[in-house]
Symmetry: C2
C-alpha cells in the first residue's frame, strides 16, 4: 500500500517552508512524521463529530475512530479528571478498577475468553499476542492478509506488509487475500510447515481495514478451522473494528461466527487515552503468563481504567452500537444511491460506521489519483476522510460512533458536490 | 535476576484466596500479573510523596519514579484536564504543542541531538531505537549489561537478560558487566563481528538500575568509543535516570561525559500519563525516518504533550533537579551513617534520588532473603521500597523527586527500626 493521504514534505502545497509551523515541525520531528492532506489541517478544538482549525473553521470528522464516543466527551473527561486527582499508580499494587473493568469487558465476550492483560497501544497488544501464541503453539509462522497493518514495533512491523510491501515481511510470515480463500490458506499453512516455522497464528483485522474494508460475514470461519487443525491459533485484531464500530455488537469477530484464542484492542478503547489490551483464553495464555512476569508500567493503571470504563458507559448509555448500525446503514444507502450510474464510483461496502467506497477511472479500474483528489477536495469543503486498500483508491469513511443523521446529510451534500465537480 | 519483590500467587500471606480482591484479580488477569509484598498494598489515594491504602493508612513513597513530580500534582492535572476539554487528536494534523515541547526538550540536550519521535512507553521507544540503529549501522548485534531491562516488546525482551537470564537473550546479544570493562567490551565486539551480526548498538541504562544501581561517572566513555570504532551507536536508555533523577542535570548520560546517538525516555516524562520518546542525532535517524512512515496513534498527541510540558514546568519551578541532589545527598549520607559498623549492610551508592543499599548476610555475602524481609518490614511500617541487582539484595530507594528532608527523617527512622529488629 502506498499511503496516498500521507504526505512527505515535498507534497504539501508550497512545500514545508510555506508554513512556519510545518517547517518547525519538520526540523524537530524529522522525516518520519507525515501530515494528512496537501494543505495540512491545523486543529485546535474538537467537540462531538466536529473539529475546528486555527482560523475557527469547522470540520465534520468522518475519519477519526479514536475519539469514538466523540471528541471531548464530558463523561470520559470527568472520569479521567476525577481519577487523576485521586491516584495513578500501577498494577503491582491492588486496585479495584482494573478488576471491575476486566470483569465488565470479559462479560461482553464469549465465555471461552476469560482473561485479559493491559498495555498502552494496539502495537504492544499485538506484539504481546504474538509472543503468547508462539509460546502456546511452539511455532513461529504467522499468516496475515496482503495489506495488513498490525502496528509499529519490530515484531508487528514484520507481520505488516502495508508498511514494507509483501516482500518486506519476515521469513516467518505468509500473506493471503482478504477473502481468505481455502486454497491460499492451505498453501500458506503448508509452506510454513515445510519451512520449519510451523503455524503459530492467523492474525486478522476482522473488518480487513487496510486491505480496503471487506465486511462480508463468516469469511473467517473456514480459515480458522484450517489454522487450528495445523496447530495454530486465531488472533483477532479488534483495534479498528472493536468497541461497536461494525454496528453488529462489540466485536468484529462475532460477525464471522468464530471465537478467537486471543483478541487485541486499542484505539477507541479509552477515547484517546493510550489504553490497549489483549484478551485471551486462559489455557492459551497460561504458558506465557506462568513464565514471563510481563509488566507494563502504564498498562491498566487507575486513570487508564477510569477512561476505559467511561467509554463503556457512553457506548451503553448512548446506545452507540445501535447508532453505528442505523446511521451507518443510512450513510451506506446514501452512498450507494450516489454511486449508482456514476462510472467513477465502484463498490460501496462496510459495516456499521466503517465504510469503504471505491474510486474508479471511469473504465472500471482503481483510480488512486482521483481518490486522493477527492479526499483533498472534501478537506477543502470541511469534511475529513482518508483512503485505504492496495490500490489506494478506497475512500475510508470511519467517523466517531456519535455520527448523526444530520452529519450524514452534510457528508452526502459535500460528497455530491465533490463528485459533481469531478465530472466536469 | 529473580524478582525478589514480585510475588507469585503462592507467596501472598494466606494465598490468593485470603483476599477477595486478589482472588478476583487472579481470575481475570491471569498469572502474569504479580503484586509487590507478601501483604500486597491496596492503594486508593496519593498526594506528593504519600500514598494511602483502603484502610486510610499512609505510606511514604520511596519507590515510585513515575509520579516523579509527586502524586496528583495539581499543575500536571490542570494541564491535562484543560487539553482534554479542548482537543485530543494525533500527529497527522498540525498542532503547536508537539513542536513547542520538542524544542524545549531538545534545548536541554547536547546540540548534536536534534530530533525527537514520540511513543507511549519506554518499551516502544527502545524498540524503535533498535530499529533506527539497525538501519543506520546495517548491523544487528547489541551489547547490554548482564542484568539489563529495556522493556517488554519481543525485540526489547530479547535484549533484556533480567527477564529470562543471560542465556535467554537473542543470539544477536552479548552481555557485559555494569563496569563495562575494556576487555569485556572488546570481547563482545569481536564476538558479534565474528558471528556476522556486526555491532549495531550499545544499549545502557545510564545509572544501571536493574544491575543494582552503579552511579560511577565516566564509566561509559571508553565503551562508547570502542563501540563507535566498530561501527555501532550508543542508545542511552534514560527511562529511569532521565528527567533529573540523578540530581546532576536532566540526563544520566551527562554524568558519563558522552553524547549518545539515540536517547530513549519514558516513565516520569508525563508523571504517569503514557508518554515516551526517542531523541536522536538527525543523521542517525535519517535512513529509518526517510523509509518508514512510523506512526504511533497516541504518541505525541496534544494531551500527552500538555502533560509532558507541565512536568518540565514543575521540574523547573520547584527546582527538582537541585532537590534531587540535595535531598538525595542527605539521604545517602544518613544511610551511609546507618551502614557504618553494621555487618548486614554493605555499600550505599547512588546519584540524586536513586540510591542502592546492599544487604549482606553478616559475613559479607549478598543476602536476598534478608533484603526481602527488610522491604516487607518497611512496608509494614508504612514505607515503600523494593530491591534490585543480580543477587536481589540491593535495596532500591527511588522516591518521587519532591522527596523532602522530613521525608528523609521519616525514612531513616523506619529503616533504623527495621535494621535494629534484624539484629535481634
Amino acid at each position: 500500500m502506498t499511503f496516498s493521504n500521507i504526505m512527505d514534505s515535498n507534497s504539501y502545497q508550497g512545500g514545508p517552508g510555506a508554513d512556519p509551523l510545518i517547517e518547525a515541525r519538520s526540523t524537530v520531528l524529522g522525516p518520519a512524521y507525515r501530515l494528512f492532506y496537501e494543505r495540512p489541517v491545523h486543529l485546535v478544538r474538537g467537540q462531538g463529530t466536529k473539529l475546528y482549525d486555527a482560523d475557527g473553521r469547522e470540520y465534520l470528522d468522518a475519519y477519526n475512530n479514536v475519539a469514538s464516543v466523540g471528541h471531548c466527551h464530558p463523561h470520559v473527561i470527568d472520569a479521567v479528571t476525577r481519577q487523576l486527582n485521586t491516584l495513578n499508580t500501577h498494577t503491582r499494587y491492588l486496585h479495584e478498577s482494573i478488576v471491575e473493568y476486566s470483569q465488565r469487558l470479559l462479560a461482553g465476550m464469549p465465555a471461552e475468553i476469560n482473561q485479559v492483560m493491559y498495555a498502552c497501544t494496539g502495537s504492544e497488544a499485538n506484539d504481546l499476542a504474538l509472543r503468547v501464541a508462539a509460546m502456546y503453539t511452539g511455532a513461529t509462522g504467522v499468516i496475515v492478509t496482503h495489506e495488513a497493518y498490525h502496528g509499529n514495533t519490530e515484531a508487528v512491523t514484520a507481520i505488516s506488509p502495508s508498511m514494507g510491501g509483501r516482500a518486506g515481511v519476515g521469513t516467518h510470515v505468509r500473506t493471503v487475500s482478504a477473502q481468505l480463500g481455502r486454497d491460499e490458506i492451505a498453501a500458506a499453512i503448508a509452506d510454513l510447515q515445510d519451512s520449519g516455522h510451523g503455524v503459530s497464528a492467523l492474525v486478522v483485522d476482522t473488518i480487513f481495514s487496510s486491505d480496503g474494508i471487506y465486511p462480508d460475514p463468516f469469511v473467517l470461519a473456514p480459515a480458522v478451522a484450517a489454522v487450528r487443525a495445523a496447530g495454530g491459533v486465531l488472533i483477532a485484531d479488534e483495534v479498528q473494528p472493536g468497541f461497536g464500530r461494525t454496528g453488529a455488537g462489540m466485536w468484529g469477530f462475532t460477525r464471522h461466527g468464530v471465537v478467537p484464542d486471543l483478541v487485541t484492542m486499542g484505539k477507541p478503547m479509552a477515547n484517546g487515552m493510550p489504553v490497549s489490551a489483549m484478551a485471551a483464553r486462559a489455557e492459551v495464555l497460561a504458558r506465557f503468563a506462568d513464565r514471563v512476569p510481563y509488566f507494563n508500567t502504564f498498562g491498566g493503571n487507575p486513570v487508564s481504567m477510569a477512561a476505559a470504563a467511561a467509554v463503556l458507559d457512553v457506548i451503553e448509555d448512548q446506545r452507540l452500537i445501535s447508532n453505528a448500525a442505523t446511521v451507518g446503514g443510512d450513510l451506506r444507502a446514501e452512498l450507494t444511491r450516489l454511486a449508482a450510474g456514476n462510472p467513477r464510483v465502484g463498490q460501496v461496502r462496510g459495516a456499521g460506521l466503517y465504510i469503504g467506497m471505491e474510486v474508479l477511472d471511469g473504465a472500471g479500474a482503481p483510480d488512486r489519483e482521483t481518490a486522493r483528489w477527492i479526499i483533498n477536495a472534501m478537506r477543502e469543503r470541511g469534511v475529513l476522510i482518508s483512503v485505504c486498500g492496495a490500490d489506494g483508491n478506497v475512500l475510508k469513511i470511519r467517523p466517531p460512533l456519535v455520527f448523526s443523521m444530520s452529519d450524514v446529510d452534510r457528508f452526502i451534500a459535500e460528497l455530491t458536490a465533490v463528485l459533481a465537480s469531478l465530472d466536469k
